[in-house]
Amino acid sequence: MATLSIEKISKRFGNTQVLHEINLDLADGEFLVLVGPSGCGKSTLMNIVAGLEEPTTGKLELAGRDITHLEPDERDVAMVFQSYALYPNMTVAQNIAFPLEMRKVPKAERDKAVAEVAQMLQIGHLLDRKPRQLSGGQRQRVAIGRALARHPSLFLFDEPLSNLDAKLRVDMRAELKKLHMSTGVTTIYVTHDQVEAMTLGTRIAVLKDGLIQQLATPMELYNRPANLFVAGFIGSPAINLADGAVDAQGVVRMAGVDTGVRLPQHAGQAVKVGVRPEDMLVQPEASANSLAAKVTLVEPTGAESYVLVGGAFGEFTLRSAGEATYAPGAPLHLGFAADKVHVFDAASGQRLN
């Protein structure tokens, strides 16, 4: 149980600035997800917290203790790696006991901790096996068990689910969330998968080019993305974006149509207008506030269908419940509520409304 504070951490490799003065504060028991495209610096940040890399500048504090320059094993931090990093020459039980053994925990206590973890993760029948005799999901459990066994103050997960197949990934995701709810250990979780980020995190930090683009709760991130990058990164299918402009009266127009948003302080500015696929509504008749579109194709997924439409605005995706019965080429009128419209500065990408 601990709070973590990351203060002005930056990292430079030669002339490349990988992280720019990152500030993050984790409350006790928080599950923070670091998400971003590859090369955004999320893994570097995690390695710095783990102690596997030295920051160029900045300070780390865990439970009030300065850990910036401590060795990885002195930090009271446990990590689960993407490849699971199970020691191939040791059995599952030995793997789980290894960090305890290194901390000179007596044998009897180690055995007890192993049994406890095995019970919690239902891997009791695997204890005598070697890692190569385990399936991907089982290895994942053992890796989590090894991290759990030593009761760390902070858990680090480095893309732990990306080597699993799609079905197992969904199961493990739910288990991780349950596990966090029952243990309550402060956690940082790195992923490039925005669905994992949304489902797991109590808060999400979106990283790009070594900068935090936005730090917020999942729903806040989804409903009020701070900039174009976050808007495009979070959400599947992706948010619909089109070029627009704010006219002299401050009316935000997309493809000439009034979106209902008023931004008089930005009159005359070029903007990008975004509407989420589920906020695009098909209207029975054309109106002053609707966009004319033609159906390009329909993608049924079962519970819902994605309708791709084209028009003066470019190409949009609509989310429609159940089966969509549109024929390709059919004309549609699209409307949306003004409070579901996201307006970004075309040049800087920052949110305007």
Binding site: P72, S83, N89, F98
Partner: protein, 285 residues
Amino acid sequence: MKRALTPQRVLLYLVLAFLALVFLTPIYVMVVNSIKPLDEIRAGNLVSLPLSPTIEPWLQAWSKAQIGVQPTGLAPYFMNSFLMVIPAVLISTVIGALNGYVLTQFKVRGATLIFGALLFSVFIPFQIVLIPMARLLGELGLAGTVGGLVLVHTVYGIGFGTLFFRNFYAAFPQELVKSARMDGAGFFVLFWRLMLPNSLPIVVVNIIWQFTNIWNDFLFGASFSDFDSFPLTVALNNLVSSSTGVKEYNVHFAGAFIAALPTLIVYVLSGKYFVRGLMAGSVKG
């Protein structure tokens, strides 16, 4: 699918059979003649099978032939070779593995240069170091002893050992090392508990390589040993090239076979790992 027996394939098999014959003939000749009485060899036919096979030449070569002052056979020198090979192989393997571990897993200033220098040592011809080494062994009081030979071969083995292990450890999964560091494994614990137990293929390659080289070495053995510390290769030479008395070819064949046997056994037992390990080192390194 069964392949048709085309003329090309027939030719291929003929060539392969011929090559196999070329490689196997010397062994055949050695074995056949080592179990013949001497007069059968003198009668002139080296290739024929023995008319009255005997193991007497082997017993002669092993325990009775005159090599040093006493008619001891090759047995004591066989022991010398083992006393030289086993420590030299083990020590040079451990040092090579440690070097590879340090050079790949830690940021060592000038690592490339150090590795280059160690690599260079592999290419230094034996003859160049003979005189300085003789001097050094003299200073250390190891001249003419098995211990001296162990030192020489260990030093020579480090270059190759480092090369093998560095290439193997360069492809060692980084996350395993990171994980062990976070779990609290220090320098030596990480090495003994994680790196070494997971490097069986390259350990086997290195052991075979060093064993063969050191066992078969003649030059260092002839230069740095005495009557009582000769390795087997030198003793064999003394047996074969002694200029007095009758040339007992059957005993010579048996002696040569005894000298070759340990390396042969090592290859047969671990040849599988040898090929696999060489691949692992070269492809991924």
